[in-house]
Symmetry: C2
Subunit: 210 residues, 2 copies
DNA sequence: GTCTATATGCGGATAGAC
DNA sequence: GTCTATCCGCATATAGAC
């Protein structure tokens, strides 16, 4: 690993942290450099613009999300969905600036906008696949149409959760935010659940709603 | 009406339009003044800061939303919910900068953050009331717990819809965006619907999904 | 109420030395 | 690769004339 790679990564790490904590709009390139202890001239050597930094972070997020949603393991129980959801929501939380500042990002660069749309479409497709496997495994009872609607709703909830939590006081204070978020996404399945899957949901409810 | 009020209102109108079109972060006070054809000095006479402009817009939004959700008319059919939803989503669309830049706004001022939380809580409470009336009227079959979850999901979807549509290609291109959004919120009720309410949903589906 | 003029500072970005 | 120095432009905000 060359020194150059290392600095690049440290820039990305510091930027991610600042973007998450202060918001992209309020984070200046100078600030990133200062926090990292390097000169802004040096930073500009590695990234020509702030948008370029953001784009690389989005790219990393995409890789991570797609690694999660394309694991081809079989889905036969609610727990399998729970795991995937949890991993995805952890990633979303670690890169939470993305969905908090979606509008800013999409405006800043058409390439980022396109990448975000890709992520959404693949997320919905992956979720749809998982749900229809759950239907096949008799965990839920749902038509193809139901499953399609469900997948959209689940992805919407997952991606918007941390933003929504900001305006819903009951939604944030929590030791395990990703778990709480995953619970809320799973709640969408409630009316479709069959048999013991209902019991599992009750267990999750008791765990996440005090 | 004095001249002062008129200018104030024109500032708010221009600011709203620019916030919606360009985003708050990218809209400078100078730009608002320029678009309006007044000097920035004049604008500062009316509003000390950009946040103050935003706060007044949020206040107006709140008044409008609360006027919608506190209309005490009886809810006996899906159509009653449809109307309320449509009005709320039209308001959300007209003030769409609010939920697009929620994070920015909440950071900019604790008072705005608090106001947004108020709006959310009252929105959820109002939605819950409507849903339980629908249950009483036998339009849907849902427990109190179901209704509580449902209300949160509906408000989340309604408030985040226009943001989500930005990353979901299938969600935006539409002649009647508020109608489309309302349809998606109503979809959450699908599994709970009884009897002819199902037919009504089918009708909406055919109308909004081509 | 409204304007012009201006102070002040910060963020983005580059040049050139080491 | 990294630093220092620096330029440019824009945004916020104020002072004072009309």
């Amino acid at each position: 690993m060359t020194t150059r790679d290392s600095t690049r990564n440290r820039i990305l790490a510091t930027a991610l942290s600042l973007f998450n904590d202060e918001g992209i709009a309020k984070t200046s390139v100078n600030r990133i450099a200062a926090d990292l202890g390097i000169s802004s001239g040096n930073l500009y050597y590695h990234f020509k613009t702030k948008e370029q930094i953001a784009e690389w972070l989005v790219r990393r997020f995409q890789e991570r999300i797609e690694a999660i949603t394309t694991t081809g393991s079989k889905v036969v129980a609610l727990d399998d969905l729970w795991l995937v959801l949890h991993l995805a929501l952890e990633a979303i939380q670690q890169y939470r600036f993305i969905y908090r500042d979606v509008d800013f990002l999409a405006r800043a660069s058409p390439r980022i906008a396109h990448r975000l749309q890709q992520i959404t479409l693949r997320g919905i497709a992956g979720t749809e696949r998982i749900c229809s496997e759950l239907a096949k495994a008799d965990v839920i009872r749902a038509s193809n149409e139901d499953v399609a609607d469900l997948a959209v709703q689940m992805v919407l909830t997952a991606t918007c959760w941390y933003t929504f939590a900001r305006v819903w006081p009951a939604g944030n204070a929590d030791a395990d935010p990703a778990g709480r978020a995953a619970y809320h996404v799973l709640t969408l399945l409630t009316p479709y659940l069959k048999g013991d899957a209902r019991l599992y949901m009750s267990y999750l409810r008791s765990k996440y709603l005090k």
